[in-house]
Subunit: 378 residues, 4 copies
Amino acid sequence: MGMIGGGKDAFIGAIHRIAANSDGMIELVCGALNTNKDVAIESGRALFLPENRIYPTYQEMLEKEYNLPPEQRMDFVTIVTPNFAHFEPAMACLEKGFNVVIEKPITVTLDEANQLKKKVDATGLLLCLTHTYSGYPMVKEAKQLIKNGVIGKIRKIYVEYKQGWLSTLSEREGNAQAAWRTDPKKAGKSGVMGDIGTHAAHLAEYISGLHITHLCAQLNTIVQGRALDDDGSVLLKFENDASGVLIATQVAAGEENNLTINIYGDKGGMEWHQQEPNTLLLKWPGKPAEILRAGSAYLSEAAKNNCRTPGGHPEGYLEAFANIYKNFALALSAKINNEQSPCWIDYPTVEDGIRGMAFIENVVRSNESTEKFIDFII
Amino acid sequence: MGMIGGGKDAFIGAIHRIAANSDGMIELVCGALNTNKDVAIESGRALFLPENRIYPTYQEMLEKEYNLPPEQRMDFVTIVTPNFAHFEPAMACLEKGFNVVIEKPITVTLDEANQLKKKVDATGLLLCLTHTYSGYPMVKEAKQLIKNGVIGKIRKIYVEYKQGWLSTLSEREGNAQAAWRTDPKKAGKSGVMGDIGTHAAHLAEYISGLHITHLCAQLNTIVQGRALDDDGSVLLKFENDASGVLIATQVAAGEENNLTINIYGDKGGMEWHQQEPNTLLLKWPGKPAEILRAGSAYLSEAAKNNCRTPGGHPEGYLEAFANIYKNFALALSAKINNEQSPCWIDYPTVEDGIRGMAFIENVVRSNESTEKFIDFII
Amino acid sequence: MGMIGGGKDAFIGAIHRIAANSDGMIELVCGALNTNKDVAIESGRALFLPENRIYPTYQEMLEKEYNLPPEQRMDFVTIVTPNFAHFEPAMACLEKGFNVVIEKPITVTLDEANQLKKKVDATGLLLCLTHTYSGYPMVKEAKQLIKNGVIGKIRKIYVEYKQGWLSTLSEREGNAQAAWRTDPKKAGKSGVMGDIGTHAAHLAEYISGLHITHLCAQLNTIVQGRALDDDGSVLLKFENDASGVLIATQVAAGEENNLTINIYGDKGGMEWHQQEPNTLLLKWPGKPAEILRAGSAYLSEAAKNNCRTPGGHPEGYLEAFANIYKNFALALSAKINNEQSPCWIDYPTVEDGIRGMAFIENVVRSNESTEKFIDFII
Amino acid sequence: MGMIGGGKDAFIGAIHRIAANSDGMIELVCGALNTNKDVAIESGRALFLPENRIYPTYQEMLEKEYNLPPEQRMDFVTIVTPNFAHFEPAMACLEKGFNVVIEKPITVTLDEANQLKKKVDATGLLLCLTHTYSGYPMVKEAKQLIKNGVIGKIRKIYVEYKQGWLSTLSEREGNAQAAWRTDPKKAGKSGVMGDIGTHAAHLAEYISGLHITHLCAQLNTIVQGRALDDDGSVLLKFENDASGVLIATQVAAGEENNLTINIYGDKGGMEWHQQEPNTLLLKWPGKPAEILRAGSAYLSEAAKNNCRTPGGHPEGYLEAFANIYKNFALALSAKINNEQSPCWIDYPTVEDGIRGMAFIENVVRSNESTEKFIDFII
C-alpha cells in the first residue's frame, strides 16, 4: 500500500494505517504524505518508510512505483487527502494501473465520480471507498436479515447522524479539521451532507438494499459566520414504496458521533447504534425483542467473517474500518491470483461513491427548490 | 367529577379514573358512561356510583347535576369519548357552567376548538386537555431548564412517536380501539397525527416554549385497506430560528409507545424517552453528560411537585396522567376558594387544544400541497 | 381499611394510601395515625376522615370499629408504624378479628413473627406483608418462567440492593427516616438487613421458588457514629444445590434504590432491575437474548393481571405496591364472599414475614461467627 | 517480538499478534509457535515469518536469537501457551537476557511467580503480564479519579465476571479452549479463578489502588463431570477498611464476557462495564450522575494517551490489549534508549502476576477452610 496524504497531524490518515495494518495482510510501503515536502519526509520517517519511498509528490510516487518490478511495487494506493484532492490523484492512480482506496466522499462533484467510474470500468481496476460504517459486523448482519426477508417488506427507514463538534465556529478557533470541512472549495457543495450525510445515506441504502428515489431536503447554516451548511433534514422516498427520514447535523451540542438507524418492515423492526456497535436490536410484534450480538455463532457468514473476537469482547470503529480494508484486500488478492473471492466479500465501490455524490447534489438542489419532493437524479 | 364516556371496555376512561383518583383530591360522583343505556348503567354500577347519578345521557347528567345544590353537584366533567364526540358535550358542559377535562385531541376540527375557546373565555370556566406526556416530572424539568437558558438558545428539536400496533389491518380484526381511530368520521382528518402526532407536537412546543411557524409534511397510509393515514413525517420551523423534525408512525412493527425527544441549544442538548420517563439526559460539549432523575432533590419545584416517590422508586404513565388531574384540581380548588394557585401549577388548556387541531389541519394541508414549506395557520 | 401510623410527614403511610386506593377496591375509612393525639387528628382531617373515625390510639380504633355493625366496620387494618411498633397492634388486630396488612419487616424478632403466625393460623384471618417488589408484573413473570422450567434448573442467584442515602450520618442531620431506621431499639437487630436486605432475600426466594439453607454473612457499620450496620454481603446456599450472593448496602454513594437480580439456570439466565421495572431480560446460550416487556400479550396470566396499562406505558413502584393491595383485596373479597380466589392471586403472607425475620437473625448470627457457613435456622 | 505458542487455531495468540501490531511499534520476527514441529512450521509460514526464524522449540529460538547481532535479534518474547507452560519458557527467556510478555495467569503456582520475580529483579529485564482489561482507557480514567480522591475514601468494591461458555460440559464436546482450562494439570489449582477471577481481582486492585488483605471464598464445580471449579464467590477485605465482593462464574448461561465493577467512596461511586467499555459512570449524592466517555478532551493524560479515536468512535478489546503492548513497548524503548518513560506509562508487571497467583492460592485455601475470613498470604 502506498498512501497519498495522511502526514503527521492528519486524523483520518492514521486511522487508515491502523485499519489497513490490522490483519497482517497489508503493509504500508511508500507514501506522498503531504504537499509540503519537508512535512512529507518527516511524516514518512516517523512511519519508518524507506527513505527512497518517501515521495514529495503523488505524481513522483506513481511514476517511480510504476517503474519498480511488479513484485516490489505497491499493490494499491490509499488517498486520504481532503475531499477536493481526491479526484486527480485517483484518476492518476487508475491511469498508471494502480488499484485505489479513497476516503469518502469519493470526489467533490458527481461529474468527477462518474469520470472515475468510467475509468474503473475501462481499466478493470478495483476502487474501494471507505464508508467505514458498512464494515461493522452487525451492520452486515442487518443487511443479511433484510435480504432474507426476516423483517418483511421494508416500510420505513429512519437514519440519523448527530455530531456536536461544529456547535461553535471552531473553524476560526484553529481546528484544522473544521477549517477544510467548512470551506466550500475544499469540502464541496454541502458541509454536513458531504461529511456525514453521505455516511447516513449509504448506511440506509446498504442495509435496506433499496435506493432513494425522491427527496425533500432542508439545509441550515446554524452557526453564524460559517461558509457551508452544518445541519440538514431530508424526507426520503425509496424504491418499493418505502419511505423515511435522514437527519444529519454537526451542531447537536454534546453529541459525539451518534449515527443511528431504525428500519421497519411489515414483520418487524431493527435498531442499530454506531456508538454501541456490537448490538443489533430486532423488534417483533407479539413477541419479545431480541438482542443480537457481534461474535455470536448464530450470525450470518457475512457478519461472522467480519468479527475478530468472540462475543463480549467488544470490537469498534477501527475494526469496522479494518474490515473495509480486509474485504478489499481479499478481493484484490483473489483478483491478482485469479481466484474466486469468498462469497461474503463486500466493500463499497465507485458505484457507492456515485450515489453518495448524487445524494449531495440532489439534497442541495432540493434545498434550493420550493417544490416539496424532487426526483433523485443520478 | 362526572364522566362522559368511559364505560366498560373503554381503555382511556379507566386510565382517567385511576389518574383522577390518585391523590385523594378527586372523586367520581356520577357518569353518563355509554350511549347505550344498559351499558351505561352496568358500567356505573361496576364503579359503585349511586343509582341516581348513573345517567343514560350526558344531557340528562348536566341537567340533573345542575339542579343539585352546589355542594353536592359535581365540580367538573371529564369527557373521554372518541374524538368526534368531544365537542358537543364540552360545549354543553361549559354552557351549563361546568368546568371540563377533555381527552385529546380536543375536537375534530380547528373551528370547533376555536368555538370552545370563545366559550371558555366568555364563561371564565377551566378547560383541561389531557396531554398526558406533559405531566411527567422530567418533562417539566426539561421545560424549566430550557426556560432558564441552561442549554442556551434552541437550535434543533427532534421529536418522534413510534408505535407498531397498527402494523396490520387491526381495525378489521376486531380491535375496537383501532376501528374508530382509523375511521375519518370518528377520528378526524388525520389518523396518525390526530392520535399521536399532536402529542409529539405538544411535547415539542411545551418543552421548548417555542411555537411551530412553518412545516412540510408527508403522510402515508401504509397498511393497505386503511381509511386514514397511519404514518407521517414533518419538517418543522419554529419561532426564533429553531428547526426540527417530527416523526409519527403507528406501523413501526415491534414498537410499543416510543415517544422520544431530543432538543439541542447552543450550549447543550437534552434527551428524554417516555418509555423510561424518570431519566432526563443532559449533554454538554466538553464535559460529561449528566443523568437527571425523577425524585431528586436538585430538581426544579415544577418537577419535584409532580413527583410522588423518592429517586429510584419509578413513577410511570399513570402518575403522569394523575399529575394532569392534580394540577387541574389544584387550579380549580384555588379558583373555587378564590386563592392564588401555586406557581408551579401547569396543565394543558384550550389554547393547547387549538394548537393541536391547527397542527393536524396544517399537516394535512401541507401533505396535499406540492409546495415545500407552508405557514402554520391558526 | 383502617390505618395505624402513617400520619403527616410519614413517607410509607402515604405510599400505602395511594397504593390501596389505586384500583377503586379499597377505601380508607378510619385511622389511628399518630401516637400524638393532636397529630393524629390533624392527619385524619387532612385525609378527609370522618371526625368520629379519627382515633387517638389504635386500641380505641380496634374497640370502636369492632363495635360497629359489620357492614360499616373496616374490613382490615394496615400497620405502617416503624418496625418496633408492628407486633403489638398486629396481634391486637388479629385478636379482635381484623385482617391485617403490615409494612415489612413484619416484626422486630423472629419470635414475634412466629407468634403472629400462630395467631393467624388459629384465627383463619388474612395477613399480608407488603414486600412491594414482588408486586411488579415482570417479577411475577420471572417467577412463572422459572416455575415452568424455562431457564432450567437454577444454579446461581445474585441479588443486590444498593442505596446511598445513608452515606453520611444523616440520622444526626435531622432525617427522621434515617433516625429510626438506624436505632436498634426501633429498627431491630440489623439496620441494612432489616430495611432492605429482607426485600432482596424475599425477591430471591420469591422468584426462584427456592429457600436459603445456609449463609455466610459479613455486616459493616461504615459510617462512623452509626448505631447499626449499614452495609452487608452474604454468601448464600439454596435448596436444590443452587447458590448465590446477596449484597445490601445503604452507603453506596450516588445510588438511589438499585435493587437488581440475576438468576441463572442450566438453560438460560434472567436479569431484572427495579429502577427499570417494566423490562425482564432473558439470556440464552446460542441464541439472542430477549427483552420481555410489561403490558405485552405474551406474558403469563400472573403478570398480565398485575398490569394496568398496555406495553410502553410504563408502570412503577406505586403500581407494584397497588398490586400487593389488589391481590390481598381480591383474596379478602373472595374469602368474605366465600368464593374461590382467581388462580393468579399472590401476596406475601406471614410465612414470608417469618422467613424475613429468620433471614435477619441468621445473618446477624453468621456475622458474629467465625465459622464460614451456618445453617439457616427458622 | 518473538512468540512462544500461538500457532494456528490458538485464540489468544492471534489476539496478541493483532494487539502487538496495532501501533506500528512492534513486529513479529520469529516464533516457536507449537510444540508439534509441523504445526509450528505451518503456523510460522501462515504469518509470513522468514523460514530461518520459524523455530521448532522455544529453546532453539532463544539460543539462535541470542546469537544474532543485537540489532537483528528480537527485543522481547511473548509467551501465549496454556498456563502450565508459562513458567519454564519465561525463566529461560530471562536467563538469556530477553524481556518477556506473558499471557495471564503468570504461572501455575505462587512459588513459580516468586521465582520469576527474583529473576526479574536480578536481571533488570522487563516482564509484562497481559491483564488486558487494565488497558481500557476508561479503566485508567477510573484509576486516576480514585487516585485524585474524586470519589473520596473507598468503602466498597464490587467486581463480577460472568461468562456462560462453560455452562455445559464443553470440554467433552471438542472445545479445545475448554479442555485445557478445566484440566488441573494445565490450568492450575482453580479453573474459574485462574481463568477469570484473577482478571477481576486485578481490576479491583488496579482501579482502587488497594490490596486485598483478607478473603472468604466459596468455589463450586457446578457442571457435573468437570475436573475443576467453574464458579466462585469471594467476600473481600481491602486495605484501609474497604470491603467488597468478587463474583466469578463461567456457568452463567447466556452471558458472554460480562466483567463489571462498581466502586463506592465516601463522596461518590463509579460503574464500568467491559462490554460497553467506552463509558464510565460517576454517581454522586445530591447531584446528577455523569457519563464519562473515551476519547473526550476532559479525561486524564493516562486515559487520553490510551485512546486512538475521538469520542463516539468506539474502541474495544483489541485496542485495550494493544494498549498493554503499547505501554510496554514505550517502556522498553525508553529503557533501551536510556530515556525516561512518559509519566502515564503503566502496564502489569511481575508484581501483578504474584498477586494474581496469591489470589488463586488464597481463594483455594479459603474454600477448603471452615473459617470465615483468612489472611491474604503472599
